[in-house]
Amino acid sequence: MSVDAVMEFRRRDAGDKLTGRTRYTIDRGAPGMLHAAVLRAQVASGRLAKLDTSKAAALPGVRAIATAADAPGRVGIGIADHSLFVVDRVRYVGEPLAAVAADTPEQAQAALEAIKVEIAPLPAILIMQDALAPGAPLIHPEWEDYKILLEGGARAGNVAWEATAVRGDVDAAFARPDVRIVESTFRVGRQNHMAFEPRAAVARYEEGRFHIETSTQVPWTVRNATAGFLGVPASQVRVTVPPVGGAFGLKFDVAIEPFAALLAKLSGRAVRLVNSREEEMLTCLFRENAEIRIRSAVTPAGEIAGREAVVLMDCGAYGGEQIFLTTMTAHTLGGNYRVGASRLVSRAVYTNTAPNGAFRACNGVYNTFALERHTDEIAAALGMDPLEFRRRNVLGDGDLGATGQKFEAEVLRPMLERMEALRAAAPPRRQDDERLYGRATTVGTWFVFTGPSAATVNMNADGSATLVTSGVEIGSGSMMQGLPQIVAATLGIQPEDVMVRQADTDAAGYDVGVGGGRQTVSLGAASLQAAQEVRGKLLAVAAQMLDALPDDLVMQNGRIEIAGPNGAGFSIAEVAAQAQALVGPVAGTGASTRKGVPSMPGCAVGHFIDALDIPVFAVHDCEVAVDPETGHVEVLAYRVVQDVGRALNRSAIGGQIQGGVVQGLGYALHEEVSIDADGRIRQNGFETYRVPLAADVVPVEVELYEGAPSLGPFGIKGAGEVPILNVGASVACAVANATGARVQELPLTPPRVLALLLGRQPELDFPHISPRWDDNLLRPHDQPT
């Protein structure tokens, strides 16, 4: 079967979004609805001595109050370390203590103020260095009692999870007489998603089940985790998802939904809960802050004989996404280049700070920054042009990744050539002023996290089709463009005639959720399979109607006809109607999951995935001007060559690249999160957390690289996740080239750049990362329990 799903199809939700008609979760309600609010701890660490809700419960309008006694379960990733409310111990500023539902938002707030709370303060550990210090107080003294959900990760004390990837004899590589050792250290802060729609939910309790409408990327995670917290069967929770007003990973985990659900059950009424912007800032599941030490043994010819690295990622008070992300270091920091032997350890570390989470190209953004700056430091040490070093060393056909994965095909090298052509086509942008000019080309390795997806296609007798999945439209357009294109192309109808059902866990099968570049790939594969089943059924009926063989029929332009000039045929609507009359309505189902590319035996310990099912590569180029008086960095030009496998919708991908790069520019230059001495996030809104504005950005020059192998339907790869991947790296390398300064940290705010220029920025020193790689491990890599 040959169909072409490549289209320039405009998204159907644009009109409503432009006229204010789209109803996001924050725009929804129900008759008789109550308003909820959450009481949050104001200290970073302490023992909950008293929580008295009796006075609050008696206030006018208060209909329900929920506390830890109502939510007995613990959930988590890898380990179940997270309860819905503080049970005994407060672990971060903003941690929930109780939740209230009342007739009005004002009454709910008044009730919060009437709850009596006493917390006996305990020492707070706010940075990883303190968490890892010998004899540091434990943030989870009961860590050994938590239920383990995935075996294999090393854990102890304040190390929530440790994953290692070892391939080859690294000691031997470092001991070679012909190598020199280059060592680099890096640090990055947190990044806030600043999704415009805050986390919001409207919950009901009907017929013995919870129904939660919520702004999420992961309806099935919300379903299962809500059930886990509340101690009820997951089948008692139904999750539906209206259009989501921005997510970027923020909504890749359960959030406030269980509070609303619990209060709906307790009150018997619909309950609306919407985070204030201050709550969003305080409890953002940030991109985590991280600290990285990386060493490489390189030959004079530029061969990377050996490499070792330690990556510390701050998971905040609970493990969450960072536990999974310990896996990713092997594929991000361990990506890009052919390396002889390598050993990498990633450690998720507990601190008394707000839990971190997922953010577009999780883990990859800072590891790519570290890897690319380290690569430039290697090239400088060797006296080699950094582009030439990359040309020689980027991953190519048959090269091995950090867990022993064998990469297929030459992808990065031809992408680098494309970038060189783009660079050559435009002269460097320089003005006759006192500023310092620099540019850099960097590479990045990402992947599509595939995982399970399900789809159903219902063929309607009017010739339209309905696609039913648990996919969510978060703005990327995959539910509006990619998926209807795939179904329409398979059925020979117009994409406008494919209706896409909003996610409903009662209507569609399991799905991992939208994230990691997986939605168009995984749901696309399931949707393609479902549509192919429908296609086969329709062709069989049409064959009967036409007295022909199904193989002799073509299905296109809304018709099924006998192949050849002037072939007889019927409209698809006629065939669908006939099928409905003869055998009943036509439907098809599809399912997909990851292939599960194995690692080399013994390479990966504590990992959630062994290797990459679908690698994705990116080459970025950036030109900057640095003002030596102010430290201000202006981005003058930005270019992207992105591996997309095959571009289903070039316009949609272009929009993702412009948006993703700009989000990365914010991360690289001015989006800064800091935590005060009491453990509170300082940035409490848009005024103090500076996102890029229209005047800050440049048009990104985009080239899509097609033809790299992919398991995705039609050879596609996810395109929305990766554009942010090497922006921090590119800006950092360009600023280092412009200034000659050793850039070790992001964001490159004017004060930090000025300090670099004036030599006042001290070199990073990580006493909590041992110089001997093995000494950083809780247990030796080759002795897993």
Partner: protein
């Protein structure tokens, strides 16, 4: 005392407290949920509406201040359900992603283009200073606005 105003050409009366932000009156009382309360501190611009023809952030505008004035929200910019030229161009440029910022963007730019029919690129960028967007990276919004102006 009720607050009287004209909203999208229609006389409306609000029972809200005088200090209630206009955004809440529009959304909760009149069910005009187009304007979005995103930051509630006048920074992001997603709640921008026209008051007597001038763009204002509805989150920082107390309801009492619009007594007797004429308000136009994003819902009132597409006469007869038809997209205005800016909205049409934004669709053509495939500019929309999550969409939360667009109610404010559309109000700001529709007003700006009426005042500045032939803007430069930098003028459009400057006009968007009060309207943040987290998804798109702005470029297509700027391009669509320039397209409306035919420059």
């Amino acid at each position: 005392m009720p607050i009287e105003m004209t909203v999208n050409g229609e006389a409306r009366r609000s029972a809200a407290d005088p200090m209630t932000p206009l955004i809440d009156v529009l959304r909760d009382e009149f069910h005009l949920t187009g304007a979005k309360p995103v930051c509630r501190e006048g920074f992001c611009g997603a709640c921008t509406v026209l008051v007597d023809g001038e763009p204002l952030v509805a989150c920082l505008t107390p309801a009492a201040l619009v007594e007797g004035r004429e308000i136009r929200t994003v819902e009132g910019l597409s006469a007869g359900g038809r997209l205005n030229p800016l909205q049409t161009r934004l669709v053509e440029h495939d500019a929309v992603q999550c969409g939360m910022c667009f109610p404010g963007m559309v109000v700001t730019l529709t007003h700006f283009l009426a005042q500045t029919p032939r803007p430069s690129r930098d003028q459009v960028r400057a006009a968007l200073t009060g309207n943040a967007c987290r998804c798109t990276g702005y470029e297509r919004i700027v391009a669509a606005a320039l397209d409306v102006a035919g420059v």
